[in-house]
Symmetry: C2
């Protein structure tokens, strides 16, 4: 057995917790420490060294890859370039519109310091992105469609909870079966986001609240619901706790393409996830392996999933993969 | 616009024809010539130079990548090492059990001559293989399942046509919905190939033949049908021509994995293809782009799809991919 890849985790939210679990499932990695902005003593993690984020620089020679588990809004734009100046990194930066500038700032830090940083890793961006690129390259005469869900949407759940008379509630984004069937038929329809998704809300109303008014207010809410086919169900607080406390998610990338004299070819990738953060963390951990290997090969700088050959994320050797998986 | 990638095709069967069509859909490639073992005059291809395979060596400096469209049984074990000694190549070698020795002989020829050969490209082996590796690396605690179909099986169609009283016929391999549902539920069942697939035959009987006897003989045929849930339908010659003359195929790679404290995560990839050879050829053409680029970067030797980063098969630049597809 080769020496294990030494991993650090920055951030102890749901993603950081998922990364700890995912590392446990590997044979070739070991977790050195979790770094946090909070008082490390408050984390109470069993068997894992917990340190303040300011101590990370002392671990330059003891950690091969830092898995950055912060958020995209404010954490990662600062943290990834900072950690990339000292460590190989992976992160799940997902503000699609700002990826080019994020890439540029990480690439500068990583190139200057001979580190390797794989950005925007997870499932979207991440596995979905890979499938959009492969499908597009193989079937140039076609159209890509991305559907999200069934998934709990944090932003929309917040929106329904702000409605007067709502005590608690959640919102699921659900891909429209009718739209998916159209896409799978290969007819490459024009579809707006609202055509592709329905919205289903489970609401706990305040006692005595006017449910018809709540339902109407949700269904007509601009931007969030007005353009969508929306269902509102009223449930009890107990039902909410029992049936809606997980963070499931998933989705579909489908491409319908034509080859030759009009033969239809349907390419489809999908995920159905009980736990969105645990799955995303599992993707990050697999790509941490790739970051380590790319760095060993002196492939420095910022990378995306498009730059990583599939074999690099597997713990198996090239020989094993050709023999058992090809 | 950069100079176009110059492509040669070896073999003018269904795969070679599909490759000609796929190249037409690209902006960055041009077809230089098709090489054949037959008399080139007999091919009658419009607007495409047709040459005898023995002339290929004269084109060493005029072709960037040779797409090898021969069969795996006898053509490719000879042709790939031979052409790899002169050209970058891609092929669809699919005898899974012999891939290690095939790889070794191609790698020797390519390494010695500074060429790049991507072997076993297509959908299985190929895209399915990529998904088996990605899913396994991301969800180590889980199980991979591959289902094939709905697809016309040449070997099984030949078998039913050998039954006494059968005038003509085809056989489709169909994934079992019940087995797929079990896999998608995340319970990771034990399934034999026969549990995962059903077989459906469309038979044209000779006039006066005993249909019950034919049906029984097919359903009890060892290896081919006896272990499977098999349907036999009798149709007319006209119906066979009208409804069963295409070569559809496809299939599914599904992995059910567990993360954390038993959260189920379902990863699924599928293809539904009107034309198996045209789709396979489209994958070969996209990977020809990768073979050219890898060779430009001096990555010589035999490669598999596991060694090729997704961005290499796309005609788009890394910047475009990050901006529009990530």
């Amino acid at each position: 057995m080769n020496k294990k890849i030494k991993i650090g985790i920055v951030g102890y939210g749901n993603l950081g917790k998922g990364a700890i679990e995912a590392i446990k499932q590997t044979q070739d990695m070991e977790l050195v420490a979790v770094f946090t902005r909070r008082d490390p003593k408050d984390l109470n993690i069993n068997d894992v060294k917990t340190l303040h984020i300011s101590e990370a620089s002392d671990y330059k020679n003891e950690i091969d890859v830092m898995i950055l588990c912060g958020g995209s809004a404010t954490d990662l734009p600062e943290q990834t370039p900072y950690f990339a100046s000292m460590f190989n990194t992976v992160d799940s930066y997902d503000t699609h519109a700002k990826i080019p500038e994020f890439y540029a700032s990480v690439n500068e830090a990583a190139t200057k310091n001979n580190t390797t940083s794989i950005i925007s890793v997870g499932w979207d961006p991440g596995l979905f992105s890979i499938n959009r690129v492969l499908a597009d390259a193989i079937l140039p005469n076609g159209e890509n469609y991305t559907f999200w869900g069934k998934g709990l949407s944090q932003g929309h759940s917040d929106a329904v909870r702000r409605v007067e008379g709502v005590k608690n509630g959640v919102q699921y984004t659900i891909p429209s079966e009718a739209a998916m069937d159209k896409v799978r038929s290969g007819e490459n329809p024009e579809l707006a986001t609202a055509d592709k998704h329905n919205r289903v809300c489970y609401i706990v109303a305040e006692e005595g609240a006017d449910k018809a008014k709540i339902e109407n207010e949700i269904k007509t809410m601009p931007n969030y619901f007005a353009d969508y086919d929306t269902e509102v169900h009223f449930i009890t607080e107990e039902e909410l706790k029992r049936d809606h406390s997980k963070a499931p998610h998933g989705g579909f990338v489908i491409r319908g393409g034509n080859t030759g004299a009009g033969n239809k070819q349907i390419y489809e990738f999908s995920l159905k996830l009980d736990s969105n953060p645990e799955f995303t963390a599992s993707v990050l951990v697999a790509y941490a392996r790739a970051a380590y290997r790319l760095n060993q090969e002196k492939q420095f700088g910022a990378k995306s999933v498009f730059d990583v050959a599939p074999g690099y994320i597997s713990p198996k050797t090239a020989e094993e993969l050709r023999r058992d998986y090809l």
